[in-house]
Symmetry: C2
Subunit: 368 residues, 2 copies
C-alpha cells in the first residue's frame, strides 16, 4: 500500500513514559512511582472539578455539546473577547495542528527555535513544509528576524515560555519582533505555560486580547493541561481574530472534546484560587531544584514554567541518569532527543521532590 | 490572511443538536428533553463503567498512557489480532480522518455511496481530493464497481450498516466486491453499527480479522459511541494490517484519548452483557416505529442499526416536522441536508418512544 510521500519523513512523538509502563517493566508499585516527566500539575485536579465529574459520570453516553457554548463563553469572558475569537481543541496541540494544516503545503516554510516543542516540526512535516530553525537552542529573536528576512515563513512558532527548556522572551521584545512580520504570516504564540511565566515576572505576560488586536495575524494558545491540572482530559484553546478561527474550524472534527472534559474545563475556570496556589507552590519548590543543581555543580536554565532543565555537561550522560531514575520509579524527561545532555524535571510536590533528590544522589553516586 | 485553497470548499459538519441548545432556545426543562438525534445508546452507560470513572476522576491531571497499552490489548484480544493491528482514535471519526489524509492529495479520488456518513466527504475535501458518489442513495455495489472501473479510487468508503439511512449490504456481496479492488486502494469498512447489524442478521456480520486477512488493503472501523454507550467519551478503533496501522500512527497527535476515556473503554469491554441487552431492546422497540410508520402510511428504510429513517414523500416537509418536534423538546435528525425528505430517529427507551409517538401525532396533526 502506497501512502502520501510526505509521510515518509514524519516521525512520531515520544510522550513522557506513563506510570503503567514503569509498573509493568520495573515492577515498581504504582503508588511509589514519581512521575515528573510531562509537566502535569503535581497537586492534582481541583477537588471541585473532581466532584463535578463524579456527579456527571453517568452522562458519558451522550455526545458532547459540539457547539461548546458554555466553555467558549467562559473563555471569552476570561480573555475579554467574543466567542467567535475562541476555538477549543483536544489540548492546545490540536490547535497547533489546525494552524499548520490550514496554512502549509509542500512549498511552505515554518520558522521556529532550534529546541522547542517537538510537535511543531512533526505537524509541519505532515504537510511537507520546510522547517527552518534558529542556531541557538533558546529563543533568539534576532536570529528569528534574520531567518525571516532571508526565507520568509508561512507560520512562525513562538513558545512563551519555551518547552522543553523553560526560558521566556519578554513581551516587549516579542511585540517589537511582531511589528516586522508580514500580515500574511501566521504567528502562533504558544502560551501553554503562560500562567507560570506571568506569575513569576510581569514582563513575560502576554495578554491575548491585546496581542490579537495589535497583531491580527497572531493566535494565542492556552491549555488546561498544565496549571489547570487537566492533562488527562485533553483540552486547550486558541484565541485569534474571527476570520482565523473560522478557517481553523474547517479542520476540526466534530466532537473533538469529551462530555466530561467540557464539564471539567468549565469547572476548573471557576476555581482560579486553586490554580494560583499551585503556581505559588511551584516556584517555592523550584528554588530547591536550583539549590540542588548548584550544590552538584550542574548548570540549569532559569525557568518560567513548572519544570527545570538541568545540564550535565561532561559530568554525566543524561540518558543514563534518566534510565537509572526510571528503574527506581522516578520518571523524568531525558533531553538527548532534543540534542541536549540534560534532563527536564517537572517540579513536584514537596515530598516528591525530596525523594527525587535522594534518588538522584544515589544514581549519580553509582554512575560516578 | 490567506489559507490553503482547498479549505475554500470545505464545509463544517452539523452535529445533532445538544440538549443544552433546546433548553436555551425553547425553554424546555433539561429533564423533559428527549434527544434521539445522534444514535446514542439510550439506556445510558453501563453502571460498572460509571462506577469506574467516579473512582478514577481524581486522576484527571495525569496525561493519558499514550501507548494505550491496556485498551489495545483488550481490543486485540476481542478481535483475535495483535496489538500492532490496532489503532485507537477520538471516535472512529478520527481514524477516518487519518485514512483520508494518509492516502489523499489534490489529485486523489474517493468513492462512496450518495447518502452516507457526512465526514467521509468533509475529510476528503480537506485534502482537495475528488469525491465520486454512486447514483443511488443506499449502497449499490454494482454502481460502486462501475464507478471504480471508470475512475479508480485511492480510498473507498463502505458504511456497513449505513448511517444515516440504516441499510446494510450482505457480507458475501462485500467480499465479492473487494475481490475486484486493487491492492493499492484503501477500503474503509465503517462498522460503527456492526454490533446491531450482526445481531439482527448473521449475513451482515463482518469479522475484522477475516476481512483484513483476506483483503490486506482494508481497514475495519469500530466505535464505543453507539452500542458501547460512550458517545460522550470519544473513542473508536481501526483494525488493519500492521503496515497500514503504522502509517496512520504518523498522523495521530499524542494523547488523542483522555485518561478517563481509556478507563471507560476498557471497563465497557468487560460488560458485553450490558451491550447485548441494549441491542436486544433496541430491536424490540424498533418494531414500534415500523408499526407507527405503517399506521401513518409513511415509508421507512428497514434498519440494521439503532435508528430508523422515516420518509414523508409528499405528505409532510421533514424540516418542518423536525423543527416542531424540537420546539417540544424532542430532538430528531432532519435529513434534508442529505437530500432526503425524511427524518432519522434514534430508537429510544420504551417510555421515550411512547412520548415521541404522542408528540409526533400532535405535530403531524398541526401541520396537516
Amino acid at each position: 500500500m502506497q501512502f502520501n510521500k510526505v509521510l515518509e519523513n514524519v516521525t512520531t512523538y515520544e510522550a513522557g513514559k506513563p506510570i503503567e509502563l514503569v509498573v509493568r517493566e520495573y515492577g515498581v508499585k504504582p503508588e511509589s512511582v514519581i512521575k515528573l516527566a510531562s509537566n502535569e500539575n503535581p497537586y492534582g485536579t481541583s477537588p471541585k472539578v473532581t466532584a463535578k465529574i463524579q456527579e456527571l459520570a453517568k452522562n458519558m453516553f451522550v455526545y458532547p455539546d459540539d457547539s461548546m457554548y458554555e466553555l467558549k463563553e467562559a473563555l471569552a469572558n476570561k480573555f475579554e473577547v467574543e466567542s467567535s475569537n475562541v476555538i477549543i481543541g483536544s489540548g492546545s496541540d490540536q490547535i497547533l495542528e489546525f494552524c499548520v494544516h490550514a496554512k502549509c503545503e509542500k512549498d511552505s516554510k515554518i520558522l521556529m527555535a532550534k529546541t522547542t516543542f517537538a510537535m511543531y516540526e512533526i505537524y509541519g512535516k505532515q504537510t511537507g513544509a520546510t522547517i527552518i530553525k534558529t542556531e541557538d537552542d533558546q529563543h533568539n529573536l534576532e536570529q528569528f528576524s534574520k531567518l525571516y528576512k532571508e526565507h520568509g515563513a508561512d507560520v512562525i512558532f513562538l513558545c512563551l515560555p519555551n518547552n522543553p527548556l523553560g526560558e521566556c522572551v519578554d513581551k516587549d521584545d516579542v511585540y517589537a519582533f511582531l511589528e516586522t512580520i508580514d500580515s500574511n504570516t501566521l504567528v502562533v504564540v504558544d502560551g501553554a505555560y503562560q500562567e507560570y511565566a506571568s506569575f513569576k515576572d510581569e514582563k513575560k505576560r502576554i495578554v491575548a486580547k491585546d496581542l490579537i488586536t495589535k497583531f491580527p495575524n497572531t493566535i494565542y494558545l492556552g491549555t488546561f493541561s498544565k496549571a489547570y491540572a487537566l492533562g488527562g482530559m485533553r483540552v486547550g484553546y486558541g484565541i485569534a481574530q474571527a476570520n482565523i478561527i473560522k478557517t481553523l474550524y474547517k479542520l476540526r472534527a466534530p466532537f473533538n472534546i469529551t462530555t466530561l472534559t467540557l464539564a471539567a474545563a468549565i469547572e476548573a475556570l471557576k476555581d482560579e484560587e486553586f490554580v494560583n496556589e499551585c503556581i505559588a507552590k511551584n516556584f517555592e519548590e523550584m528554588t530547591r531544584y536550583e539549590e540542588y543543581a548548584k550544590s552538584k555543580g550542574f548548570e540549569y536554565i532559569p525557568s518560567y514554567t513548572n519544570f527545570i532543565t538541568i545540564k550535565f555537561a561532561d559530568k554525566f550522560v543524561s540518558k543514563e541518569v534518566a534510565q537509572k531514575l526510571l528503574e527506581r520509579g522516578v520518571i523524568v524527561r531525558d533531553l538527548t532527543g532534543y540534542g541536549q545532555n540534560a534532563i527536564r524535571i517537572t517540579i513536584g510536590r514537596n515530598e516528591q521532590n525530596t525523594k527525587v533528590f535522594e534518588q538522584l544522589d544515589e544514581v549519580l553516586e553509582n554512575l560516578k
